[in-house]
Symmetry: C2
Subunit: 310 residues, 2 copies
């Protein structure tokens, strides 16, 4: 039992890592995600790639603890997906199918939850057992870890932090059909939206009028001392910090890890989130540690590998 | 291993039950909570009472699976309390001390969390593994169960549902020091507050002007078709339903159980909570089952007993 696989299925590529049990990545690679014909080739393609890797590296199945798979959809504890937005799958028992294809024990999880587990194992949440991770990308994803385990939930939809309602007055729709979801303010798209509204509402000078407006340029302008950009960051951080304070009252975490594309802005981000968090957090949760994610695109394969080691 | 004890420590009395492993209560009783001298007598009093019960019933320690204890304070997974509001305890390792006093394995939990576990085992949440319980009493307490286990959290403060902020405009203070906490709108005290504000803001006729104004009289008036009371119930239900929808996005429960004194109003309560919940819930969480708690004051001893059977 010296090795395991971590597999992170995305809509375009599948990331795969061959891990040693201590967390070292012996090898990592990608294959194409073939979504045609209801995605029927995705799991067989992965299985073939894993078995090839074992053969190439001279590793026998007996030395593999298992295959962990992160899936971009709600997935139950039993490994069942009911529908996917971008893989073509309808009902599928991912765990069972992969075990049949490979003869190797398989564990599964939602991709955002699995990334959170990866950050807890090897990244920004190292040493924590209770952790919230929020992933600020095109959307806002999240993962909640309780006693070192993923909070999967009844329908595999635990940790859907992006869809906490943070503004009951909002009239614009979120992709989920609701309005006022955290995702509308704290994702890369959301920050762009806040920025454009801000620019429309003022004619003050700002660096943001000199080029494209997006999450990166907003935080670049913040770093350059731009006042308008600072106000946009305050708005972003207030929504996110307040949502995290409410979440912490329920979950009581040791750490909150901020990841995703937006987090590449770096440490400058954290005070904007921490201040409103601390203003609103329940007293027992006020000392929570805020950190940035560290694993970038590898969080998924790392967490997936950890799934089978637990 | 045919028996176990469930102990629910309150500020005035300690409730104790001798359970069979199938959940039947063989005997239940109460003793006084002696909080003087930093509460140093509370655990010895309980230990004595339990050992007496074994002797009286001719049960040997070998046939006792353990002692479960619910405590009115945050308590860590290891059984450590750092402070209590109404027992006099400062730092105390409850688990260790009770095991030394009795020689019987002991498990501990926060009283609201333990009550939730009781309702899952024998009450309104029977058959569920993932459940949120919200207790509408003088305050608003709560418990979150994930895969059948209590979400204890890092500081033993998991499930503090009453302190989710639901109104950032609120100027009145909550007991916790924040303002806008769910407890200020959904507790018995909170409903009374909402009702008084409503009565001050209108001179419409209502049954509520004919006697004392409290949670019971509000829901009695609702049942009698009173329009002003209905509007108060809508306000209460909107705050609670929206807070539960946010919580469900994080936790993805199968059921939400409503307990505490306010829940004695009965089924009339549920539509007021469910409607705003469903309007705001993430799609995967919309079919959650809403039920009333069933165990009343026994929820604590039942859940405490279940702690040691798991």
């Amino acid at each position: 039992m010296d090795y395991c696989f971590g597999v992170d299925i995305g809509g375009t590529t599948v990331k795969i890592g061959l891990f040693q049990e201590d967390g070292n990545i012996r090898e990592k690679w990608e294959i194409k995600t073939r979504t045609e014909e209801k995605g029927c080739r995705i799991l067989p393609d992965i299985a073939k790639s894993l078995l090839n890797s074992l053969e190439k590296n001279g590793i026998s199945k007996e030395n593999v603890a298992g295959i962990g798979i992160g899936v971009p959809a709600p997935i139950t504890e039993d490994g069942v997906v009911k529908a996917t937005a971008n893989l073509g799958w309808e009902y599928k028992n991912v765990k069972e199918e992969m075990e049949e294809l490979t003869g190797i024990r398989t564990a599964t999880g939602n991709d955002a939850n699995v990334a959170a587990l990866g950050e807890m194992w090897l990244g920004g949440g190292r040493g924590c057992k209770n952790m919230i991770m929020v992933t600020l990308g095109t959307g806002v994803g999240g993962g909640i870890l309780i006693n070192g385990k993923i909070l999967t939930g009844e329908h595999g939809a635990g940790g859907e932090i992006g869809h906490l309602c943070v503004n009951y007055e909002e009239t614009d729709n979120c992709g989920c059909g609701n309005h006022g979801c955290l995702e509308q303010y704290a994702s890369a798209t959301g920050i762009t939206r806040l920025a454009k509204k801000k620019l429309d509402s003022t004619d003050r000078e700002t660096l943001l009028r000199k080029g494209p407006v997006n999450a990166k340029t907003v935080f670049d302008a913040v770093k350059a001392g731009d006042e308008v950009a600072d106000e946009i960051a305050v708005e972003f951080g207030t929504y996110l910090g307040h949502a995290l304070a409410n979440l912490a009252a329920a979950v009581d975490p040791a750490a909150i890890v901020i990841g995703g594309g937006v987090s590449k802005a770096g440490e400058v981000l954290l005070p904007y989130i921490k201040k409103p968090y601390q203003e609103r957090a329940f007293f027992a949760d006020r000392d929570v540690k805020f950190t940035l994610a560290e694993l970038g695109n590898d969080a998924g394969i790392c967490g997936a590998a950890k799934l089978v080691l637990d």
